[in-house]
Symmetry: C2
Subunit: 356 residues, 2 copies
């Protein structure tokens, strides 16, 4: 069977207490004794039972990460990259991750949160893809349970978060397109209950008005952040009699779908139409042409959130740490000069451009 501490103690001829304290590194045990205990522990292959340790210490060294599941689950590149960051940081500080996925807003999601929090499953929780009004935040904040968020709710008091400054980001992106000569710019927004989707829409509208550019209703479509939905929106835009010359998608996944749709129709992305996204997920750099996007350092954010959470667990006074990052624009082949009016429409499908 598995070796228990008492086995080590008996073998080393000391009491249970002394064995525990010897291995725990306390200074009230003689050096010779400590060495003897350590040796036998080693020899017997002793590893403390973690459930007992946790029960007694009232600390699990586990962090909870409950993903909003769609079909793809953890497979979505955005989550995968985030996970990579959190996981890496966690493992360097001897913490572990508890992963689950549930449909956003479902009762299953709520129940998992209850279990995880009240059942002492984890010491803290990391929230991701925050909603404008987010029951998870209310629940955790109400219970006084330590958590951090990637993104924010409408009322940001009492919990630490990191978020990107979407408004600033879209300003940068619109500037870029305007400089390239675009004025007919469409925007594919995300679901209104997701905070960043709201902010990105606001950012787009603000930027457009500051350039005194109109945004006709037909240039403002809605998607659900998934790839297919981006393709549909693109299709709808291109079917219009006066299609836009540039399309900004609320996130990269939709933008990739949009590119696919355009390419499928024989349109040359970056020349006939410009496309841009938001997030900077890895695959965006590997398509042809590459996707122009606003990069947020997803992995790095994961790492930082993990660190903040741990500090927050040990010291719950540091609750109001809010970090807002300005995303960096990544200009790649998918955006280019606006086509001159007489040359518009799809003619030849020969491309001379190549991504730099």
């Amino acid at each position: 069977m598995k070796t228990r501490l008492i086995d080590v103690a008996e073998e080393a001829q000391v009491s249970l207490t002394t064995a525990s304290r010897a291995l725990g590194g306390f200074d009230d045990v003689a050096t010779a004794t400590r060495r003897r205990v350590e040796d036998t522990a080693q020899r017997l292959g002793y590893v403390p039972n973690i459930s007992a340790q946790r029960l007694r210490r009232r600390r699990t060294d586990m962090l909870g990460l409950i993903l909003p599941a769609d079909e793809t689950g953890f497979g979505e590149p955005f989550f995968a990259e985030f996970l990579a960051g959190v996981g890496e940081e966690a493992s360097t500080v001897e913490q572990h991750l508890l992963l689950t996925a549930h449909p956003p807003g479902s009762t299953a999601e709520r129940e998992t949160y209850l279990k995880v929090v009240r059942g002492g499953w984890v010491d803290g929780v990391i929230l991701i893809r925050l909603r404008w009004e987010d029951a998870r935040v209310d629940l955790l904040r109400g219970a006084g349970f330590p958590f951090v968020a990637f993104g924010r709710t409408n009322d940001v008091d009492g919990y630490p978060f990191i978020d990107e400054d979407s408004v600033a980001g879209l300003g940068i992106l619109v500037d870029h397109l305007v400089q390239l000569g675009h004025s007919k710019i469409a925007f594919v927004r995300g679901p209104d209950d997701i905070t960043f989707a709201r902010h990105r829409l606001t950012g787009f509208e603000t930027a457009m008005t500051s350039h005194r550019l109109p945004v006709p209703d037909r240039y403002l479509l809605s998607g659900d952040l998934r790839r297919e939905s981006g393709a549909e929106a693109m299709s709808e835009l291109m079917d219009q009699t006066h299609p836009p010359t540039a399309v900004i998608f609320c996130n990269d996944m939709m933008a990739l779908g949009g590119m696919e749709e355009a390419v499928g129709r024989g349109v040359v992305v970056g020349r006939d139409v410009s496309i841009a996204g938001f997030d900077g997920i890895g695959v965006g750099g590997t398509t042809a042409p590459g996707l122009t996007t606003l990069r947020q350092p997803i992995q790095e954010i994961g790492r930082r959130l993990c660190r903040i959470l741990l500090e927050h667990i040990d010291d719950d006074t540091r609750a109001n740490r809010h970090v807002l990052l300005v995303p960096e624009i990544l200009v790649r082949g998918s955006t280019g000069p606006a086509p001159t009016p007489r040359r518009c429409g799809v003619t030849r499908s020969v491309s001379e451009r190549r991504e730099g």
Copy 2:
């Protein structure tokens, strides 16, 4: 503070035992009593403390998944998709995942396995990317600890696994290329200690000899399975005086790197040179042209492995379940007819092909 079972018991005027048995669904408690206990539990928001439960039940309802970490960690599409499958299945049967990543073969990896197994962290372990001689398998098998594997070692006795039939797969792929008229086919192999890399090489060699096609040494390169390494191999191949007309990569990631390299040199993939991979990761369908590959249902394998592991935990006699899947070929734009000899080399960069 958190409500404990004893709080519920006192509130409901029963003993601790009865409260426990009422909530546990035993039939030796009167219906009225049971209802009373359930109600108060509900009202007090009682959730059992999981560490205590685990300690007592000697069961954690947790499965361990220790990934071979490189820089990208969980971010690698192959792992991400696999994770999605395992995670989904686990959550439908109320199991949870313990995730960590360690460099393959490192002492950190070994120590984590020891802790996880001897410290009772999880009930079973899922292994992935098996090595030809795999210390993890020896350790787990030696300890009699339940585990399943995606892939296999040289000696497959005493543990359940699912693996793809790489030899058959490469047969299919080589047939496909031969039918397209290719005879100068190169292969970029993976590290020799990884089992599937061995099998895929064997499969390639067998298929080539059965078609009586030679495989000169210069057409046999090595990579480390990562994207960049695929690009390097491709570059080396294309610099040869008599470059191959088709290149098979040991996995999709390297194939994607190879495609990038080719495209970057102005070569039209699928016309000037054919490229194929192995795995069928999602992104392979989104490049232009799409990557021809051998698809293994990664997510589905994740789900199945999870199920097998759970059965194996409850009943350790079912240890020798070996599943071998024949991968399915996904023909996309990256493979096409072999260029005719006189037309060879790179001339125009205009492409008329498009992925169907």
